[in-house]
Amino acid sequence: MSARDEMLARIRRARGDASEGPPVPGSYRVAGEHAPGSDAVVAQLVDRLEDYRATVVRAGGDDVAIGAAVAAALAGRGIHEVVHAPGVPDAWVRGVHVARSDDGTASARDLDAVPAVVTGSVAAVSETGTIALDGGPLCGRRALSLVPDTHVCVVRVQDVVQTVPEGLGRLDPTRPTTLISGPSATSDIELSRVEGVHGPRTLVVVLAG
């Protein structure tokens, strides 16, 4: 008998007759009390992100205003070269001296030589300070938002929801998805949180709209 058949047979013997579990109570909150994109959820998202030591910059909703915020955030850090997700509008990176669109050919080593990356995002959850990237054109492939040491991530106000269920409901589980809640961190030394390990040590969130 193959390992597969034997394991399935073992599981069926161990499970017994009842092949249905108890009903799952749906009494937890799915939607929050605040509407997506409302002032309340945006304020909460800012609070949570700053608690994680991310930098939050507010910008207008148009591409030019976003581009100005991106350029200012990078210049303030002495960064003049970025790579960006292929679907990022040109206007978002127009103010950066060298901006290359990722065509998927750069190796991890190539990306390691670039100081910063600019991406969009597809959803954000205010209660947990979480931003979702789905590997689509606006967010780029996963390596892109991982290897450079500074990640500038544009979050549109209308994509901000209050709760985790609302946020996950906006995602496609078959896509390669990354949920980001602040810069990389560790609690491995005496359970004290330290920001900045292997992922981007600096996370700048441009909150647009």
């Binding site: 599981i11 161990a14 249905e20 108890p22 998927g104 390596a143 004290s192 292997h198």
Partner: protein, 501 residues
């Protein structure tokens, strides 16, 4: 094979995990290992500091969730439903992973899982792998199996790196180096990390930066990664890894080949189920509203991440636990480690005393359910007694595993297994039998009670005046003896209210 007390008719437990492979058993029973740990003041200081820090953080972030209890109920019910539908869900997971370009392997035990992973790594022609922290691969002893075949396994989680560089063993599910203080970690890095800055200080930020520099080159060149999985979604074939540092993202994203080892109990029915667990897990484990990074992927995505993906589904004693009503609930565990951090026993002994990679309250039940209770001299037989049954673990468990009930059942199972294997009963069993005989008859009980009052002359300040012979001395060695009163309750009642029966 012993039968479980809680095993309903018609259920057949799968085989126990082989304790000779992997890290499910220590070499000494818990009391002996705990005694050494208790004598280590540095260890106790480190543990007290770390567990009190995390307890406070957890309490604060759990307190701000208005529907926490509803989430626990839902988490518990989803897991119960999963266990009831386990074969169908695993077949569905397999079909969806395969449809999206992954390959699914089935491993009956640790040795088979190690062999599968080793063959897959060999097929790539590589001689090193990067690893994301994973309990399943520690359980099966994968690193040792790979090293035995000449393949270097780089642990990339900071705490796992501290353990690996220190030639040490993990002592906590979430923070395997919790037993180390910052100055000890600095010593280990200074001694073992190639090319480390000699001016290294013991600031956590400096130590984390040293780990970043050390591992960056390894990440950039690695061709093969091995991970575990926190969740596997049956309806979509999506695997999820929850982490903090970004080492997980590096391993899951940069290499060409990804091999994920997942216990069969980690499957969940639907993507929506994650909306419950992604709220419960981070707040319970690191005490954060959300962990920094959660990665999900389904099979292979062209142009993004590893182009070869293998999922190894592991039994290794899980079908043994599944047959038992209570043992099954031990499989609900999402490895948050909240129960370790609140346990008065864990806080004093640390994780090494438990012998298994699963320490603390959940380890004291999960390990014996996986490996079996022998009734003989197996160190895991002692684990169900590594508890005061205070119940703090049950209160904090995000999926409401009733650990105290499981401990009591396992103690009963151990008593039965011991009786079945030994002609002479234990002294405890003999005492219980004698007590049952005394209590079976009211006159007999009154007589024995009166006789016991005379025993008070032999006890001073909780200690017997004359040393007791074994086995009684074993009991009094670490406990005070209650002094019997001068008068029994029955005599007192008769004397003061004899006229009012």
């Amino acid at each position: 094979m012993s039968t479980f007390l809680g095993m309903p008719q018609g259920r057949v437990p799968g085989p126990a995990a082989d304790t000779a492979v992997g890290q499910l058993t220590g070499d000494r029973p818990f009391p002996a290992a705990a005694r050494d740990a208790l004598g280590n003041t540095q260890l106790r200081r480190n543990l007290a500091h770390a567990t009190s820090t995390i307890r406070a953080k957890r309490a604060a972030v759990v307190g701000e969730v208005p529907d926490w209890e509803a989430l626990r109920e839902a988490g518990s019910a989803i897991k119960a439903d999963t266990m009831a539908r386990l074969p169908e869900l695993l077949e569905q997971l397999e079909a969806n992973v395969t449809a999206r370009g992954g390959t699914v392997h089935w491993a009956r035990d640790a040795a088979e899982a190690n062999r599968i992973v080793l063959d897959l790594v060999r097929a790539t022609g590589e001689n090193e792998v990067v690893k994301v922290k994973s309990m399943a691969t520690q359980e099966i002893g994968l690193n040792e199996a790979l090293e035995g075949a000449g393949i270097t396994a780089h642990e990339t989680d900071l705490a796992e790196l501290i353990v690996q560089l220190g030639h040490d063993k993990p002592s906590h599910i979430l923070v395997p180096a919790i037993h180390r203080g910052r100055s000890e970690i600095r010593e280990i890095f200074a001694r073992e990390m190639p090319g480390v800055d000699p001016g290294l200080t013991d600031e956590p930020a400096v130590l984390a930066a040293a780990a970043r520099t050390h591992l960056r080159e390894v990440f950039l060149r690695a061709k093969v990664a091995v991970s575990g999985a926190n969740f596997g979604v049956a309806e979509t074939g999506t695997l999820t890894v929850v982490e903090s540092e970004g080492n997980g993202r590096m391993c899951l994203t940069l290499p060409e080949t990804l091999i994920t080892v997942m216990g069969i109990e980690k499957v969940v029915p639907t993507w929506r189920d994650l909306e419950v667990f992604l709220q419960l897990l981070p707040r319970s484990s690191t005490g954060e509203r959300m962990n920094p990074y959660t990665s999900s992927w389904a099979g292979v995505t062209p142009g993004d991440g590893p182009q070869e993906f293998h999922l190894v589904l592991l039994d290794n004693g899980r079908t043994r636990a599944l047959a038992d009503d209570l043992g099954r609930t031990a499989l609900h565990c999402i490895r948050c480690s909240a129960c370790l951090n609140v346990c008065p026993v864990y806080e004093r002994t640390g994780g090494h005393a438990y012998g298994s990679v699963y320490p603390g309250p959940i380890g004291a039940v999960l390990t014996p359910f996986l490996t079996g209770i022998t009734g003989g001299s197996d160190p895991n037989d002692s684990l169900p007694y590594a508890s005061s049954l205070c119940g703090a673990c049950y209160d904090v468990c995000p999926v409401k595993i009733n650990i105290p009930d499981l401990l009591v059942e396992l103690r009963a199972e151990h008593t039965e297994a011991h009786a079945a294997r030994h002609r002479l009963p234990t002294s405890e069993a003999a005492a219980m039998k004698a007590a049952a005989w005394v209590m079976a008859d009211p006159k007999r009980f009154a007589r024995v009670g009166r006789a016991a009052t005379r025993g008070r002359h032999g006890i001073r300040q909780g200690k017997p005046v004359l040393p007791l012979p074994p086995p009684l001395s074993g009991w009094t060695a670490s406990r005070d003896v209650p002094s019997p009163p001068a008068e029994t309750f029955r005599d007192w009642w008769a004397r003061t209210r004899g006229d009012r029966p």
